[in-house]
Symmetry: C2
Subunit: 242 residues, 2 copies
């Protein structure tokens, strides 16, 4: 049995059930484990001695929250993250996550950062964590991200994308020219339909899906090794297999 | 510089600041990372193939919450945890953490479990996770734990204690005869004064203390390896050193 690739609707449904009365998770818990997994996947591929400076790009939604958690953990791991979050989310949790990063001495670019400021930040970064758009993304890409995505691509820096590369359609994949081309992908909970043909290194994180949910949605998740919070999909003949 | 051992008062103060306006952490976040660290420390020492059945003993306070989180993660790691929680905490978070365990198919002994039921559960367990009393414990040990602690000791099973072995004074150490004698200790945030002379394997978890707090309280925490959530203290001549 191979892993199930989720539609945007099913991904949304699982997320709601995890945080509803059945799943009983708080968003704080899920974001903490998701963000930790993203930080660990980045650290697995990009060693902090060679890639110390991480530009963590956060969108205004929950994906951005995962990014903020990842930034904090990367700081704990000895990296020097910088946060690019041009449209900060308004929810209380984002503010708290941001404060937690501030307490780590993690710098954030001013919210009004223009393309030039982003390019300057990119020139002093070694790797990008893309936590801009997640599984609830619906195109087209709006400002300021319509200018930000090409800047990230043009930097030629390695990119680690969270869940779905920013600019990609959650189900159809890379259909917009400004969609990123990440080197590494960290799917959360389960991979989405749009990344079926992704060719880079592909990790799964979010080791919190209880058996009743995994069974109900026939996720056929790969087995995580021992007590790890991430598992890497292996590629056979270019297609992702378990 | 060696690690600082905390008094009960300082431990309480750091905890409050982490969750106050400065630290900005939610209890959900801290418990998630603390419980994950406990589960990983247990899994590091007691392999699931030889020690599959874990009796997770939870007190009525936050320590019990850490235990519930650890039970869920142990279930994720492939162990078969059973929860002993004779006095369930009333806070909403404990109920949600318990539901999360239920969704993993993790069994809980009935709340009214007597000493006999506990002894029966112990006879079909391979290792104990002691999350009964934490750094806010003040003796004496009251029912039903005054009977439970000797049962745990008499089982001769290996014991992994969270933060402070149950029955120990947070600062004076093992002064009550019914205090447990754990094989493994998982200190959270920073070790407490009472465990200075602890001779077993000693881990630190809770990789969430921001630098401003670590500096302010001169914690001199050991360096966690790469992206691990636990670090083991090394013992030189019987005393714990970094």
């Amino acid at each position: 049995m191979s892993v199930r690739y989720l539609t945007a609707r099913i991904a949304q449904q699982i997320d709601e059930e995890l945080m509803g009365s059945v799943g009983a998770f708080s968003i704080d818990q899920l974001m903490e484990l998701a963000g930790l997994a993203c930080a660990q996947a980045l650290a697995t591929v990009y060693d902090r001695t060679r890639y110390p400076r991480v530009l963590v790009c956060c969108g205004p939604g929950n994906q951005g929250g995962d990014g903020l958690v990842a930034a904090r953990h990367l700081g704990m791991f000895g990296y020097t993250p910088t946060i690019y979050m041009p449209k900060p989310g308004s929810k209380d949790i984002y503010k708290r996550l941001k404060t937690q990063c501030d307490n780590m001495g993690i710098k954030t670019l001013p919210p009004s950062s223009d393309a030039e400021a982003l390019t300057t930040a990119l020139s002093s970064s070694d790797v990008i964590l893309d936590a801009i758009f997640g599984f609830s993304f619906k195109g087209p890409v709006r400002p300021p991200f319509d200018e930000a995505l090409p800047s990230l691509t043009n930097s030629k820096l390695p990119i680690v994308s969270v869940d779905i590369p920013s600019g990609w359609d959650v189900e159809a994949g890379k259909i917009e020219t400004l969609g990123l081309e990440p080197d590494v992908l960290v799917s959360l909970t389960a991979p989405k339909e749009g990344v079926k043909l992704f060719k880079g290194r592909h990790f799964l994180g979010g080791r919190f899906v209880p058996k009743i949910f995994a069974d109900k949605y026939q996720l056929n998740l790969p087995e995580y090794p021992s007590f790890a919070q991430i598992v890497e999909f292996t590629t056979v003949d270019g297609s992702h297999r378990l």
